[in-house]
Assembly symmetry: none
Homo-oligomer: 229 residues x 2
């Protein structure tokens, strides 16, 4: 991770925006802000931050559209959405459009900071040859999993799926984005195939596949991969 991660905060309530900015600056972030969807979108596209904090209710361009546009531009920094209380369908919709996590207002600043930092933990082992997942080792070069000495080979699909998970930890990953990343957009494959592949991968990775520790499912959306525990 960079020494000073860049965060872009798009929020139209000036009081909240100031408070958030101060807090993140104090924590060592390089903070950019926007109080308007259109300006915020331009900033996000031209100077992609390391993480984006995004309100949904915004003037001119709302958070959903902004999110969609960012993802369409193939930018994959993590996005944390701020939703009003009780708008559960907003959460699902936001995650579907490419957000990675959410917080419902009102929220505690400490928890928000924790979540943002967790999202930044991504890419930990992106170029490492080998990644530790619990007590098993994922070896990219060998295309295998190793737990307590014995080697479990991964099929190509399982390998690519896990590689995608590993490079996007702690994030909500939709079936669509998984299909894009692992299967490639070219082939028309049912999204149930993702579930199928996740099942076999769980069988090899999870100590207790019925109670997943690493690959969590998010109903109506997709999956989330957690590393440390």
């Amino acid at each position: 991770m960079n020494l000073t991660p860049r965060i872009l905060i798009i929020e139209d309530d000036p009081t909240l925006l100031r408070g958030l900015g101060d807090n993140f600056r104090a924590t060592g972030f390089d903070v950019s802000t926007a109080s308007d969807g259109q300006i915020g979108l331009a900033q996000a596209l031209t100077q992609p931050p390391d993480v984006l904090l995004l309100d949904i209710m915004l003037p001119r361009v709302n958070g959903f559209d902004l999110c969609k546009q960012v993802r369409r531009a193939k930018l994959d920094f993590p996005i944390l959405m701020l939703t009003a209380k009780g708008q559960e369908e907003d959460i699902v919709r936001g995650l579907e459009l490419g957000a990675d996590d959410y917080m419902t207002k009102p929220f505690g600043i400490r928890e928000l900071l924790a979540r943002v930092k967790r999202l930044l933990h991504r890419r930990a082992g992106d170029h490492e040859q080998t990644v530790a997942i619990g007590d098993t080792v994922f070896d990219r070069g060998a295309q295998t999993l190793t737990r307590s000495g014995n080697i479990v080979p991964l099929t190509t699909k399982e390998y690519r799926l896990l590689a995608y998970f590993v490079s996007h930890p702690h994030r909500a990953l939709t079936r669509g984005s998984i299909l894009d990343a692992v299967w490639g957009r070219s082939l028309i494959v049912s999204s149930r195939s993702v579930d199928r592949c996740v099942a076999t991968l769980r069988g090899k990775l999870e100590p207790e596949p019925a109670v997943p520790r690493f690959i969590h499912t998010i109903r109506d959306v997709g999956y989330r991969f957690e590393l440390d525990l």
Copy 2:
């Protein structure tokens, strides 16, 4: 690898020869040169270098014959051939005669240096004369496998294939990279030939070829060599 690798350059154009020599010397090579095929051959045989840079068009003994003689003398330092532009059949012929790589004139000195270093790196782990694979011993010098007393000779291709496996254990090796390393960058060989050679090698190496212990196949990708078990 040696601290100062020795390179022998055989090239009849004096300007080019001087330029090459200067460049390799500046990069830390111990450089010998010859501008004549017969003299060059004598040098290559009596003082084998770590790598040979070889022009094809040469007085008295041409590059092809020189290459052939070197290999017939069981010398296996890497040979990089310099061919005139557009002589595709020269390339094929050279690789068949035992060259490892080629460059077509005119070429960039940087790329040439990179390729020579790659060739040297290939031989990097080849210093141990003998390697234990399970309960069989791979003897590089004798080019044999020995298990429980009886000696099995390896053909040249099998030898180079196993040498490549041994120096890249626990890694997923694609057919492409295997072709590069073992066959040279010959474009005329089908990747199925790799499978064929793996099969014969398994027959000699694996105690039970049907259930490979050392050479594992990775579907859609290639092979993975495991040493200890």
